[in-house]
Amino acid sequence: MNQSITNKKKRKKDTVALVLIYLSSGFSIGLLLLILGYVAFKAVPYFSFKYLYSTTSIIDHTVGILPNIINTLYLVIVTLLIACPIGIGGAIYLHEYAKNQKLVRIVTFANEVLAGIPSIIYGLFGMLFFGVYLGWGFSILTGACTLSLMVLPIITRNTQTSLETVPKSYREAALGLGTNKWYMIRTVLLPSAIPGVLTGVILSIGRIISESAALLFTAGSGVLLPKGLFSHLFNSGATLTIQLYLEMSKANYENAFVIAFVLVIVVLLLNLFAKFIASKWDVSKVENNGK
């Protein structure tokens, strides 16, 4: 055998490991392609834009998901209206005001716990608390309140991290000019932290749109078009995901795939949008370029 040190020793184990690594990542990436491809392949033959703006009616012989789209929008908007002030405000307090580090730790832990609770538990809790105890029954409001607890940690965490990226000099400069703290937060800090906050909001929208287990027993499965802007809050409303579940339970796979197609496309766009925003307005990057 050639014993020269310039000869590279071939290790069998290394090759095997490398092959396994490539196989695994090929599998993981292949999954995404398989999923996207299969859903598109199954859905496209049945998809038409008419499906998006008509309602399902036995009398008119029409099939459509307009009510589900409207319910989903309702849930997204109402949930964000509840969760954004709480999440963003809470994060501001924790990062800018709180002197009590113990409180910060407890709140952070509480947020981790909230993030870890499975959606079916949120569903049970929402049904018991908002639905039964507060008497809102199966309604979009019940669903939105339940979901706002669920997305709260996402918004809080993203706001906190984006506050961390705002350079200290911004704060000091504003305070040095004689502003008060809240005024500084409102006019200097929040605008600079917007990208991170927005990323959190978009991720939350994605989570709301893809949620199903937490909505089954809270928002229910109504498919009526809204009669009034605010009265619809107290109606039961099935989102796209719940409708997909119902269609699946009825073995109605054509409709199920079309809904899945719509859901997947919306979620993909949201994800890419969140990435775009995060890369476009990175405050720390701007600061570095300025130097």
Binding site: S24, S25, I86, A91, L124, F125, L149, S249
Partner: protein, 308 residues
């Protein structure tokens, strides 16, 4: 107010009120999450314990007969608990190597550009609604498993055919669902390993694979453990993706029997359950909740140890 007459101190009072109230409101908002955790825990305990006290803790947790609607009802959920434990354990055992190796590829081997693309793909995978995974499970995985079942139990007279809706199919769906979590958390852990560990190891003559498996992986241990714990939590709490894949009747968790998980038991019966039956479903919710809390405590212990 006349502008020229304004002193710089004129609206100091008003501003002070705004400042003070802003701080108080923000403080309240920050503790909403604590309140939420306490209220959720309280409600789960309140809803889940009455059935345990009424029908006996032992009879429910270790009973094997589930006949909630018969005239002489029996509420044993042992098989449901076992299914969740067995299903999640096997799913995690399958998913961890795949996820870890993918994470290694992303952080150590792939070029920056391709790693970025793959990361986007993994994030997209994480964003796909769980109900869509369920749909694909029913349409792709179940038929394949059914073929396998036909092959294995061709000559069996006693096997109850499940049509592919069984524990094995549910495990496969769970594996796919927890992969993104495993990959992205352990990739972050690998990337957090200081670069001089890599360079030192390579300079000592270790090959790239030796560096990865003997230096980098051990240093990223706590991050990888937290990825696994997060994966366990995700698999434990998943409901909609497996409710229609697992077959949904209560049996001992064997690969080819139709089973019901803690989560899917709630989903499939809460819609019509009444009285005692409903109370026991809340008990199942409580059991699930306690499992998740246990996982959370484990996770924070791992993270704490990692910080030290």
């Amino acid at each position: 107010m006349n502008k020229e007459m304004t002193s710089i101190n004129s609206d100091l009072k008003k501003r002070e009120v705004v400042e003070k109230s802003a701080e108080h409101i923000l403080r309240f908002l920050s503790i909403v999450s604590i309140i939420a955790v306490i209220v959720i825990t309280g409600y789960m305990l309140m809803a889940g314990t009455p059935a345990l006290l009424k029908y006996g803790i032992f009879d429910i947790l270790f009973g094997t007969v589930w006949q909630p609607t018969s005239s002489n009802p029996s509420f044993g959920i042992l098989y449901v608990i076992l299914t969740s434990i067995v299903g999640v354990t096997i799913a995690v055992i399958i998913a961890v190597p795949i996820g870890l190796l993918t994470a290694i590829h992303l952080s150590e081997i792939a070029t920056r550009r391709s790693s970025k693309w793959m990361k986007t793909a993994i994030e997209l995978l994480a964003g796909i609604p769980s109900i869509v995974y369920g749909l694909l499970g029913v349409q792709i995985i179940n038929p394949i498993i059914y073929q396998l079942e036909l092959l294995i139990f061709k000559n069996s007279a006693t096997h109850q055919f499940t049509g592919g809706s069984n524990l094995l199919a549910a495990i496969l769906v769970l594996v796919i669902m927890i992969l993104p979590t495993l990959i992205s958390v352990s990739e972050n852990a690998l990337r957090a390993v200081p670069n001089n560990y890599r360079t030192s190891s390579l300079a000592l003559g270790a090959s790239k694979m030796q560096t990865i498996f003997k230096v980098i992986l051990p240093s990223a241990k706590s991050g990888i453990i937290s990825a696994i714990v997060l994966g366990i939590g995700r698999a434990m709490g998943e409901a909609m993706a497996i409710v229609l894949v697992a077959g949904n009747t209560i049996h001992i968790p064997l690969p080819f029997s139709s089973v019901r998980f803690l989560t899917t038991a709630i989903v499939s019966e809460m819609g019509y359950a009444q009285g005692a039956h409903r109370e026991v479903l809340f008990t199942i919710g409580l059991v699930l909740f306690l499992f998740i809390m246990l996982i959370n405590v484990m996770l924070s212990a791992v993270l704490k140890r990692g910080e030290e």
